[in-house]
Structures are given as structure tokens and as C-alpha cells.
Symmetry: C2
Subunit: 230 residues, 2 copies
């Protein structure tokens, strides 16, 4: 039975890294002592080691150990031996590039489908859907494919922002971008606002955090929902 937690962001304004999620993570990872961390998204270009240290600092508050996937000589073995997996945010193109280059996308998918708890924040949540085609990130590297894990049947748009009706800026809104996605793709998209996260427990999916999520389906008007309609 799959056990998946997908968060819009790792950090709420004015809080420490993962702070708002720690209580939830205590029960999500209840019977696990070590979390295997996927550091490849490298926010602001932070090193794998420094990123893993940051994650260790947060998880030590709930008495979990953290091991960086980059520290395995063979990362496949790192996936294989993982009790639980967390993929952090950063640049989705870089993350997906690394996972494909290292041949880890399929093994990671199989591991999650076999029931290993998986948690993602931001880019780490993005890759849970069938593709990374609804990321907000900049294409700083060219990945071999935009296909991702597909362990859930929807795409995510993390850090979802509502259109600013007062703005004079003419860059595309998130809603416009996702509408453009749906001209070429049929996967539904969940605009997940900061502070919200999705819990998957087998076939049971729950939206957690405050308020609703913005749901985009091809050919439909976007709407608000307090649960996951797929």
C-alpha cells in the first residue's frame, strides 16, 4: 500500500526548515529510524552534503537519522536499502536530470509502489506526478525526459499563487500557464498553496493544511476543492 506525503513547500515564512510538518512526519515515519534523502534538486546550488545536513538538523528534532543518497557509491543500492525516502525541493530540471542520468527513476517508482513511505517538498513533490511539465522552475539543465515517477495520477503545481488582480505586470499568471499545459496534456493538475500537503494512503487521498487547493482539469473551469477529486 503506497504511503506518500507531498508538500507544496518545505518552509513557511518565519519558520525553520520543515517546522510546520514535523508533527505530521513523526506519525508518517513512525516506525522508521533512517530517512534516505535525495538532495539532487540543490536549491540555490547548495551542495549535496550541506543540503543533507540541513535535512538532518530538522529530522533530528523527531529523532530520525538522515542519509544522503549521494553518499552511496551506488545510488541504486541507496534506493534499494531505504526504509523511507524524502526528496527535497530546489530545481526540478536538475533533480529530474540526475534521476534519469543515474537510472533511478524506475527503481524509485517501484520502491514507492511497493509501499516504502515517500515524502516530497516542492520539486520533490513535482516528480510524484506523471511528468514535471507543471513545475515553476527554470530549465537550467536539459533532462533526458520530462517523465517522472507517476506514483500519483495527477500533476502538482507547488507554491501555487492566485492571480494578483492588482498587478500591472504582464508576465503569465500560474492559471494561464496551466491552461497552456492543458492544450497539450490531459493530466489533471493540483495547484497546491504553501502550507498545504497531500497525504496518500493506498487509495485514500487527503488534502491537509489550511483551506482548499485549486484544481485544473483539461476542458473545465478551474475550481477550489477541499479534497483530492481524482
Amino acid at each position: 500500500m503506497q504511503k506518500i506525503l507531498l508538500a507544496s513547500t518545505s518552509t513557511l515564512f518565519g519558520q525553520a526548515y520543515l517546522e510546520y510538518l514535523l508533527e505530521e512526519l513523526q506519525s508518517f515515519f513512525a516506525d522508521k529510524s533512517t530517512i534516505t534523502f535525495v538532495p539532487y534538486a540543490r536549491p540555490s546550488g547548495i551542495t549535496h552534503d550541506a543540503y543533507t545536513q540541513l535535512v538532518q538538523t530538522a529530522f533530528s528534532k523527531i529523532n530520525k537519522s538522515v542519509v544522503g543518497l549521494h553518499s552511496f557509491k551506488d545510488p541504486l543500492e541507496g534506493i534499494d536499502s531505504a526504509e523511507a525516502i524524502f526528496t527535497g525541493g530546489g530545481n526540478t530540471f536538475l533533480l529530474v536530470h540526475q534521476l534519469h542520468q543515474l537510472g533511478l527513476m524506475n527503481p524509485l517508482r517501484e520502491k514507492i509502489m511497493a509501499g516504502t513511505p515517500y515524502m516530497g517538498t516542492s520539486a520533490g513533490s513535482n516528480i510524484a506526478g506523471p511528468s514535471m511539465k507543471t513545475t515553476n522552475d527554470m530549465p537550467i539543465v536539459y533532462p533526458p525526459s520530462f517523465d517522472t515517477l507517476g506514483v500519483v495520477n495527477f500533476n502538482l503545481n507547488p507554491h501555487y499563487l492566485d492571480p494578483d488582480t492588482k498587478s500591472k505586470h504582464k508576465g503569465e499568471t500560474r492559471e494561464t500557464r496551466i491552461r497552456e499545459f492543458h492544450i497539450f496534456n490531459s493530466t489533471p493538475v493540483i495547484g497546491l498553496r504553501e502550507g498545504n500537503y497531500i497525504m496518500v494512503d493506498g487509495n485514500h487521498k487527503t488534502l491537509k493544511g489550511k483551506g482548499t487547493a485549486r484544481i485544473f482539469e483539461a476542458g473545465k473551469k478551474p475550481y477550489e476543492s477541499g479534497n483530492i477529486p481524482f
Copy 2:
């Protein structure tokens, strides 16, 4: 001698399409009667025909005809016979995908290098640099490559936005994203704010519009500049 105009945006708030640029375009396209329009970026999914019509409406105010590149049976012939070229904004991934699929990237580059006036707005400006790796757009389709025209020696970030110091949103700022780009790439990047545009006349490059542009060079602190330092 190359003649290139790269604008951050097509439209300023409260104005008609291309309105703020029309006077400049009158002299930029002075001796040209027909503009060949590249409609492939399809903003909000608008059709090629509807997009070309929008562009025709704007250019008719300065007595220019517009022909959509999509209306040629062989788009290569469309490039070949063009007096002047304009690529409109929309989704950069879609635009680059189409140009590569149709084998138009090299012919378009050669045409511009041979002196045919080229104008771009937003996505159409993005493709003038060596790569599309500093676009803000969503990766709704997977292009065969992120390489673009390289008719200028810098990348652009159109619709550039300064970090909002009052924001509580934790999504990456533009500056963070471009810093991530420079970990893997050395091409300098110009953050071009709305209302600004770059004019290239052979080796002479000018920043036009109000104020300065934000300049990003690998390994340097970003800075403001009223001219193009490359």
C-alpha cells in the same frame, strides 16, 4: 550587419498590443513592407491564425503587412523569402519545440546573421540567446533541445521582476533562479524589465526604455546597468 530588437514584453499595462513600441518599429522596419510573423509560441493557446490577426492589427497602424509563417506550405520558404521577421511571445518551450521540429532554428539564425531585421517579444526575445535556459515559462512540451538562435551572446530573462521584499511566499525569486542557472552555465543573463528593450545594430547594442537592466554574470554579484556590457 545584424539588426535585432528584443523586447521584454509585447504589451504594457493598460495599452494595446505593441502600442509602446510602434514609433520605434516604424524606424526599425522603415524600408520593409511585409513582416513575417512566427506565431508558434501561442500565448494562452491562441491559434496561429488568431495570433497573426492580432499582430496584423497592430502593424497596420504603421502601414505594414503581416504574413504568418504557419501559412506557408513550406515554412523554410517563408523564412527564406522574409523581408523582416517578428517572433511573438507565449510559451518558449512550445516555440522552441516547433522551430526544432520544423528544422527552422538554423535557417532562422542564418537569415538574421545575414542582416534581415529580427524583432522578438518575450519568448521571441528569449530565443535570440544561445539557449532558452532562462525562460520563465512552464515546460508544457519537451523540445528536442534547449539550444536557440544564439544571434546575441547573452541570454535574456524577459518580464524581469525584482524580489518582493514584503512577500511571505517561499517560491524562488527570479534572482535565485538565475543564480542556479549560473552554477551550470556561463552565459551572461540580462534581466529585462517590462517596457525595456535591446537594440542591436551590428556590434552596437543599446538598452532602451526607462531605467536600467539587471545584469547577471557567473561568479559575480548581479548589478544594474544602463547599457549592454557584453
